[in-house]
């Protein structure tokens, strides 16, 4: 018998909110959390806009030792994991730790701490031979970012399969998809899965500047993330994290857990086309969608909502619009599509998991978050992108997709589980 995987706990930290409630409130209000970049002086950079989280590790309950040891992305992941655990009501201490695992996604992992360490070791970039005398004992944790899933594993003393799935901007879908496969094959009963990225640091901003992937709409930060709008000109770099408690359905049902949604299908494909470029036909993303629907045993017409990758680059918006038409046929014109990156920006590897959280909450609340800042769609993007205002709709099946450097294309289907929370 095939095992089924359900979401029973959610923890989220995003720009514009310090938890699941604030996150959902932001998404349904259509407000945005993008602003002028404040973590460092951005005046020498092409893109000066970011979606920053007002994250206070002390307020979040992390100890001074944890704060000193962990990179910011690890801190986000651990705080979200604790929230998800508490939300799930699962008593981990009564559980065989060998049956609990972790699958954590991140694209650039400890980038923030790497940059801080680099500046110390190299005397602010003056020297090529770096100075080991001022080396932090934690430098190795930033070089080899698997310290991140280890930190998450320690939150529940997990002793099952623990790994980091680092597939660039699809990491947040792929880490959850990976966890589903681990549960389905029987290697674990519970997985802490999700993703975290805190990339708002000079090297990452400069690397996207270099290829003009991020927006230069610096005079209007609040409206700079404009997926599918004809005036959009790149994505807004963001940070954030989302973690889930994923459980074997039988296990969740037996303990009477609240089930947000079931993850019924997942597929990943590579485009083998270009490390950053996308073919306009959306062929490989369409294939990922087709396989995810197939695994869910549903038809294209069953999809009630599509949570888009919607990064706000011209190339992406056209690519995925083509992918929906290719995979869903005429239904692509009927299914509402929206991009929450319009509100919380693009947090690289984390956003896929944040979007899964949005899908689960959309199913739970029967509300589709809008695409903020969308006033006039690109004429080549001719679907229903739910402009600016949230929409009530009963959602049974939801599709979420991701696309990233390296050619990664991923798709996941979430379905409503029986029995909503009273």
């Amino acid at each position: 018998m095939t095992r089924r995987v359900v979401i029973t706990g959610i923890g989220v930290r995003t720009p514009g909110g310090d938890g699941t409630k604030a996150f959902w409130k932001l998404l349904t209000s259509g407000r945005t959390a993008t602003r002028r970049l404040s973590f460092f002086d951005p005046s020498r950079y092409r893109s000066q806009v970011a979606a920053e989280a007002d994250f206070d590790p002390v307020h979040e309950g992390l100890s001074p030792l944890e704060i000193r040891r962990m990179d910011r992305a690890s801190q986000f992941a651990v705080v979200c994991a604790r929230d998800a655990i508490s939300d799930s009501g699962l008593q981990f201490e009564t559980f065989d730790p060998g049956r609990v695992g972790v699958s954590l996604g991140s694209a650039v992992a400890a980038a923030t701490s790497l940059e801080q360490e680099y500046l110390v070791l190299s005397d602010s970039g003056r020297n090529w031979l770096v100075d080991h005398a001022s080396l932090s004992p934690h430098m190795f944790d930033y070089l080899a970012p698997s310290a991140m899933p280890a930190e998450v594993a320690w939150t529940v003393a997990a002793e099952g399969p623990v790994t980091m799935v680092s597939n660039g901007c699809t990491s947040g879908i792929d880490s959850v998809g990976h966890a589903c496969q681990v549960i389905r094959e029987g290697s674990a009963d519970v997985m802490l899965a999700g993703a975290s990225d805190t990339p708002i640091t000079p090297i990452v901003v400069a690397s996207f500047d270099a290829i003009k992937a991020t927006t230069a709409r610096n005079d209007d930060p609040e409206h700079a993330s404009r997926p599918f709008d004809r005036t959009r000109n790149g994505f807004v770099l963001a940070e954030g994290a989302a973690m889930f408690v994923l459980e074997d359905h039988e296990h969740a049902r037996r303990r009477g857990a609240h089930i947000y949604a079931e993850i019924t299908g997942y597929a990943a494909r590579c485009n083998a086309y270009h490390m950053t470029g996308l073919k306009p036909d959306g062929r490989e993303m369409a294939e990922a969608i087709r396989v995810a629907l197939d695994e869910s045993r549903i038809d294209p017409t069953d999809i009630d909502y599509i949570n888009a990758h919607g990064s706000g680059t011209k190339q992406n918006d056209r690519h995925e619009t083509a992918a929906y038409k290719r995979s869903l046929g005429a239904h692509a014109y009927r299914a509402p599509v929206s991009s929450i990156k319009s509100m919380v920006g693009h947090s690289l590897g984390a956003i896929g998991s944040i979007e899964i959280a949005a899908c689960a909450l959309a199913i739970e609340n029967g509300v589709i978050p809008p695409t903020a800042n969308l006033h006039e769609a690109d004429p080549e993007c001719d679907l229903d992108y739910v402009p600016r205002t949230a929409r009530e709709k009963h959602l049974r099946s939801v599709l979420t997709v991701g696309s990233g450097f390296g050619g990664f294309q991923s798709a996941m289907v979430l379905r409503q589980a029986g029995g909503a929370r009273a």
């Binding site: 730790p97 270099a210 494909r269 590579c270 490390m275």
Partner: protein
């Protein structure tokens, strides 16, 4: 699971190690005891407390890759691309053998394109943001080898990159096998690492496990009474794995063996009284393969070289197989520890031990404490038939992975 699973076979290998660029060169070096460990020469390391490394020296990526790929790739990605080329050529995968989506790729690395990104950090902070390379956004990140191998070889099936420090390479092979069992008939997989630039070097030093010894033949002595840490190296292996059905259908020229079992576990948190997870990983991998300890002919050990970790591994192995119950070996003393590359290289060594009926020795180690109770193969290769192996790898913070490989009888 009671359903009969199809066998997942290794049908191609590309390997780059400090003591041999290419599978047969590496294997000859291992059997002859030739080491790739020496003074680090990539930069002036005189000021650092650790100066020995396993470097790949007699290898020029420009002879193997198109020139346009060189400016956009870190040294580790060049190794990965060449190893993948060699693996696919070895397997003789033709363009018509599989459809686009039937070809997947799963790789592991521990530290990404680190030397490349060090150069870009240096440019950013010495010259300003405008000096940063247009390739930085994808030459550094941990998915780069998966993406570049997919792109170069038209692999459009499932792609993934796993990071689990030095255990990640075995996780990649395990996930590749999972991907085949889930229906993608051919997956290119393995691990490659390199971080031998000054910043990568001091970052490795900060891990606290490197040997500060200066004699290359005595610096990395796992399971020895004089063990004092490890020597880091660069390189790794990329393998072609495919379903038995696919290999038979296209008449795969080599079948090195079967990836018969895989498992991964994590240690309890620091300070916990519970035992470490390595033995459990080994037990689960054996169970996954449907095998018992008695069925295993040799263990390729993680062989940390850190005394406490050596002792823990010796306890796991002697506990599972009985005192001196199975030959144990660690040919990695001739390469240094290759991070995500280490596990896949050991799997390749295990597969060649089947072919040549010989267990390679653990060079260097001479004095194994009596209470380790392990039969460590030392000195010379040990001849005799070998048809199954357990390969172990551990990563810092508590990652434990185990792969079981076994010989496939010729049809």
């Amino acid at each position: 699971m009671t359903r009969q699973r199809e066998a997942v076979l290794v049908t191609g290998i590309g390997l780059l190690a400090p003591n041999g660029a290419g599978l047969e060169r590496y294997w000859a070096a291992v059997l002859e005891g030739r080491s790739g460990i020496g003074e680090l020469t990539r930069f002036d390391a005189a000021r650092y407390p650790v100066r020995l490394a396993g470097q790949i020296d007699a290898f020029d990526a420009a002879e193997h890759l198109p020139s346009r790929l060189l400016p956009q790739t870190d040294v580790s990605t060049r190794y990965a691309l060449v190893a993948a080329d060699w693996a696919l050529a070895d397997a003789k995968i033709g363009t018509d053998d599989f459809d686009d989506y039937e070809k997947g790729v799963v790789t592991a690395n521990a530290s990404g394109g680190f030397e490349f990104t060090h150069r870009e950090f240096h440019k950013l902070w010495s010259q300003g943001p405008g000096a940063v390379s247009v390739y930085e956004s994808y030459a550094w990140f941990y998915a780069v080898n998966t993406g570049q191998i997919s792109l170069r070889n038209g692999l459009r099936g499932p792609g993934s990159a796993l990071v689990a420090e030095q255990a990640g390479g075995l996780d990649a092979l395990g996930h590749a096998r999972r991907t085949v069992l889930r229906g993608t008939p051919m997956v290119v997989t393995g691990g490659v690492d390199s971080a031998l630039d000054p910043w990568g070097w001091v970052a490795q030093i900060s891990g606290g496990r490197l040997s500060t010894a200066t004699d290359p033949s005595r610096a990395y002595l796992p399971f020895d009474a004089h063990a004092r840490g490890y020597v880091p190296g660069e390189g790794g292996a990329i393998l072609v794995v495919e379903s038995a059905g696919a290999a038979a259908r296209r008449g795969a020229p080599h079948v090195y063996g079967e990836i018969a079992g895989y498992a991964t576990t994590f240690d309890p948190p620091p300070g916990s009284p519970r035992p470490p997870g390595l033995r459990r990983a080994a037990e689960l991998a054996l169970a996954d393969a449907g095998m018992a300890p008695d069925d295993i002919d040799v263990v390729f050990a993680d062989a940390s070289g850190v005394p406490d970790l050596d002792r823990a591994e010796a306890e796991a192995v002697s506990g599972l197989f009985g005192p001196r119950g199975v030959p144990v070996t660690a040919p990695k003393t001739l390469t240094g520890r290759l991070y995500a590359g280490g596990g896949p290289v050991d799997v390749c060594a295990a597969l060649l031990s089947f072919r040549d009926a010989v267990i390679p020795p653990t060079a260097g180690t001479t004095e194994v404490p009596e209470d380790y109770r392990i039969d460590l193969v030392r000195g010379a290769p040990r001849p005799g038939p070998v048809s199954s192996a357990l390969v172990l790898a551990r990563g810092k913070w508590g990652f434990n992975s185990a792969v079981v490989v076994r010989a496939v009888p010729a049809p």
